[in-house]
């Protein structure tokens, strides 16, 4: 799973359900960089295909030009995978010695 996919999955996990533009907004505020709507859509489609999120239509609203929202919701598999990645990463970080601060990296 790519980083962008992981990030979007985490954003979907933040709320009970979320949709394209909202995800883009959250992404921009957290990552401090802009993202295009097609990119979000591509990632969501891919996550859906892998069974990590599921989708359903909401109600049409005027700010969407009368179109329905498509809400995305993480599945248990999605949650499990995201936490697993996080844990693995934490384990790897634990192996980084404190002395690495002395390597002149900071």
């Amino acid at each position: 799973m790519g980083t962008l996919e992981e990030t979007v999955l985490i954003i979907v996990l933040m709320k009970e359900e979320s949709y394209g533009v909202e995800i883009a907004k959250v992404y921009e505020s957290h990552m401090n960089q802009s993202i295009s709507i097609p990119a979000i859509h591509m990632v969501l489609k891919r996550l859906e295909k892998k069974g990590l999120v599921k989708s359903s239509f909401g109600e049409p609203t005027p700010e969407r030009g009368g179109k329905r929202k498509k809400y995305y919701q993480a599945t248990p598999a999605g949650y499990k995978l995201a936490t697993e990645i996080q844990q693995r990463r934490q384990q790897m970080w634990d192996l980084v010695p404190k002395t690495s601060f002395n390597y002149g990296l900071i």
Binding site: G20, A39, H41, G65
Partner: protein, 858 residues
């Protein structure tokens, strides 16, 4: 709530086209929301740019959409079916129409083949774009002469001293005979340097060029290999040529595949230039003895002008040209075939003719355009019949674009059938066409890849040209009117009229053009040449010995039927120094005392040569009228010129002959000098025969063999030579005639379709008129009067174009007839008669119809 701004409409439409339906709602909604959000954050401009950009990003889905969703292709089957059914329903007209399209396509395809062939010349050499040949310009006072070619020394020195010349080869045709067993045959061969094989793309079937700096080796083409019966191994194989009076055997190093026909150089036998150099030592040291071609291969990224400037610099450093300005240039190999400025020859095949290309392209395109117009008029004429069908299609949800596609598809069916018919026509036309175009085309040529591509281009072009107008018209029709059967649509018959008018114009243009070309060429062929070529046989063979000349002449005169014999040199050109120090270009020839008589050249002043007078054999000359006029001599007889060709001294005029056009192209008479003194070698034997008997040529050959065996007897009739001089014009005449014929035929077809459909639509009207008491004559007048205006306008357009073009063409001739108005009159009457017959053939049905048949329907 705040009001929402709409994103650009076109971007939204585009999104709808490219985005699959199951995604569109989500995507459109998200983009819309993001648009509002971005307007708030960054302003409208930014939001719009982002919106458009993101719409384009959805192109990645486009392929999926095409694959999964109907975009009109599904209906293609249906279109083809209805199209074919309709063709079958109107099979009479359809057949004419398809034939017409086929003929148009065939003519245009031929033109395409010819033109691409002409433009493809020398393109197949891999390094061809870097191969150049030197040219020279020499300016004396204000007269500029242009030469193509180089001297031996230029080809030797320039590659050594001028940077940028990677390889070089001289190239020159040789004169000699091929010896097979004990007999000699004429055979062309060429001299070349070793680099020739690396510069030009040649494919060896056997062996290689080998060491081509040796003088006694040769490479030959497969054609020659077959001719001399070369088989098996090349070791110890030789080919014997008779060059410079001696038999020389050349060891065959290799056999190459023949050069393709679209090549300016097509040597059949190549022998090393060192052989020529060995035989022509006195020509090796002269810088400006331009008598051959050289080819230079320039390094990549080298400017030809710079190399040419360096060449000129080097030439001027070595040779003094006094007052003359000399400049050398470089001509690209691929430019040789079609650039009329430079001569060919010296081993380079005859140039293509731009006039011919222009005429062929015009005829081809016009025929195609007429054929397409025919289709359009015909399809539009059937409009009424199709209206209901279109309306029903539309009711069932067909969009304008799909109806459009339907009619384009129908045009495609006709074009495709036309293409098949065209292949048949081409098979018929190709032999004649290739003869006139001086090419060797065969029908198998059509199946060559490039030509097929041409056919496909034509197919698409015809489909679009022929189909677009009917398609636009029918697809734009409103459903209601269609179902009601209302037929009046503005512009419908107006455009039909415009098309038919244009066709008239094109036909008039072609007929008038063809007539003018005809007239001009007849004029040239029948022009009073000032001499007679009738019953004259010419044999070409050098004779040096005076005694042999006399005996040969006597022997020839013994043959019953040979009236007179004259031996002459043929014409050379040189400069004559005038009294004021300037130079005049003159043509000169050595003749004998029978020449003027046998050629029937009229003596205006003075006397003919007398073989008994010793001065006539050394210093007397006869000049032509142009010579006297040019010098402004009042009393030419006894005038001593400074003519000193070949150390002639004290050349004094003893007679003046009238101008004659022998050996002078395009009817320009240059000043001429004739003499009996042996400054030139006798080459031409003129034999006047009367009467022309069966065995006379055999007798002549027997005498010839007695004197010149083993060299073969080659003869020609002077009349044929004369005709050959105008071969190109004659061919242009034939092609323009054929083109005009096809155009008239096609126009008739178009007119028939146009008139026919118009009449069919008005049968009821005609029936009522007849019931009321109209005479057939009146009905004829009713219809035919509508076409008179069209003919007149078409006539004006066509004639204007013809006058303009013919004037341009005639400017190339010294003696031209100009555009005469009877040409226009003939063209008009031809068209009027043909149109009247065509219209009448269609009207006939209307004039003699039985009114009850058409009136009982409703």
């Amino acid at each position: 709530m705040a009001s929402f701004k709409d994103p650009p409409k076109w971007a939204l439409r585009l999104l709808h086209r490219i985005c699959p339906t199951d995604l569109i709602e989500e995507v459109e909604g998200d983009l819309y929301e993001a648009y509002q959000w971005r307007i708030e954050e960054m302003g409208v401009g930014h939001a719009q740019r982002r919106y458009i950009f993101e719409v384009f990003r959805y192109f990645r889905y486009y392929r999926i959409k095409v694959q999964t969703q109907n975009n009109g292709l599904m209906l293609l089957n249906n279109y083809l079916k209805t199209g074919l059914r309709f063709l079958w329903k109107t099979r009479g007209y359809s057949a004419l129409n398809v034939m017409g399209l086929g003929l148009g396509i065939a003519v245009c395809w031929l033109a395409y083949i010819f033109v691409t062939d002409e433009y493809s010349f020398d393109g197949f050499h891999e390094k061809g774009d870097r191969v150049y040949r030197p040219t020279a310009r020499i300016e004396v006072e204000d007269r500029e002469s242009v030469f193509a070619g180089s001297s031996y020394l230029m080809g030797e020195e320039f590659p050594k001293v001028v940077p940028g010349i990677e390889a070089s080869s001289r190239f020159k045709s040789g004169f000699g005979l091929l010896k097979l067993d004990a007999d000699y045959f004429s055979q062309s061969f060429h001299y070349a340097d070793p680099d020739f094989f690396s510069m030009f793309t040649m494919d060896f079937a056997k062996g290689q060029a080998g060491d081509f700096s040796q003088p006694n080796v040769a490479v030959i083409s497969e054609q020659v290999a077959t001719r001399i019966g070369l088989e098996g191994d090349l070791a110890d194989q030789t080919i014997t040529l008779r060059v410079g009076g001696q038999d020389v055997a050349f060891a065959i190093n290799g056999v190459y595949h023949d050069f393709p026909t679209n090549s300016s150089i097509r040597p059949q036998i190549l022998i090393p230039f060192s052989f020529w150099a060995g035989n022509n030592e006195r020509r090796l040291k002269n810088w400006f003895d331009i008598n051959m071609n050289s080819f230079f291969l320039l390094s990549e990224n080298t400017s030809a002008e710079q190399v040419a400037d360096k060449m000129t610099e080097h030439l001027l450093a070595n040779e003094d040209f006094h007052e003359a300005t000399v400049r050398l240039g470089l001509q690209q190999l691929t430019d040789i075939h079609l650039n009329p400025e430079f001569e060919t020859g010296n081993g380079i095949n005859a140039r293509g003719d731009n006039q011919m290309i222009l005429i062929v392209s015009i005829v081809g395109l016009l025929c195609l355009v007429i054929a397409c117009m025919n289709y359009s008029t015909f399809a539009v004429g059937n409009y009424l019949v199709r209206l209901r069908e279109v309306a029903v299609r539309k009711v069932f949800g067909a969009q304008r674009s799909s109806v459009f596609r339907q009619f384009v598809a129908e045009a495609f069916i006709s074009a495709f059938l036309g293409l098949l018919v065209a292949i048949g026509f081409m098979a018929l036309l190709l032999p004649g066409f290739s003869e006139y175009a001086n090419k060797s085309y065969e029908i198998s040529l059509i199946f060559n890849q490039e030509i097929l591509i041409g056919g496909l281009i034509l197919l698409v072009g015809v489909t679009l040209m022929a189909g677009i107008y009917p398609a636009l018209l029918l697809s734009g029709f409103s459903i209601l009117n269609g179902l009601k059967g209302k037929s009046k649509v503005s512009g419908k018959s107006r455009l039909g009229k415009v098309l038919v008018t244009l066709q008239f114009g094109i036909s008039i243009f072609l007929i008038a053009g063809m007539l003018s070309v005809n007239k001009q060429i007849n004029y040239l062929l029948n022009m009073d040449l000032g001499y007679s070529a009738e019953d004259m046989v010419m044999v070409v063979r050098p004779i040096n010995d005076m005694d042999q000349m006399r005996r040969y002449k006597q022997d020839m005169l013994q043959i019953p039927g040979i009236e007179q014999v004259s031996l002459a040199s043929g014409y050379n050109g040189t400069g004559l120094e005038l009294e004021d120090g300037s130079t005049m270009r003159v043509r000169h020839a050595r003749i004998d005392s029978d020449y003027l008589d046998i050629m029937d050249i009229q003596l205006l002043n003075g006397r003919n040569f007398d073989p008994e007078l010793p001065t006539d054999l050394s210093s007397s000359i006869i000049v032509n009228k142009a010579f006297v006029d040019e010098l402004g001599l009042e009393d030419p007889i006894g005038y001593q010129t400074k003519f000193d060709y070949g150390e002639m001294e004290g050349a004094t005029i003893i007679g003046v002959v009238d101008n004659y056009y022998y050996n002078s192209p395009r009817g320009i008479v240059e000043p001429m000098i004739l003499y009996m003194s042996p400054q030139l070698v006798i080459y031409e034997h003129l034999l006047k025969i009367n009467p022309r008997t069966e065995g006379i040529l055999d007798d002549m050959e027997a005498v010839y063999r007695k004197h010149f065996a083993p060299i073969p007897f080659n003869h020609s009739f002077m009349e044929d030579q004369l005709a050959a001089e105008f071969e190109l014009e004659t061919n242009i005449r034939k092609i323009s005639q054929a083109g005009a014929g096809v155009a008239i035929l096609l126009t008739c077809l178009g007119l028939m379709g146009f008139v026919g459909t118009q009449i069919r639509q008005r049968m009821k009207e005609v029936s009522i008129r007849k019931v009321i008491g109209a005479e057939p004559r009146q009905i004829f007048r009713l219809f035919s009067s509508r076409y008179i205006g069209m003919i007149i306008i078409g006539f004006a357009i066509g004639l204007a174009a013809a006058v303009w073009l013919v004037h341009m063409w005639l400017e190339g001739f010294a003696n031209s007839i100009g555009f005469t108005w009877d040409t226009g009159a003939i063209a008009l009457s031809v068209i009027v008669i043909v149109a009247a017959i065509t219209i009448f053939s269609q009207l006939y049905r209307a004039m003699y119809l039985n009114p009850s048949v058409f009136l009982k329907e409703e």
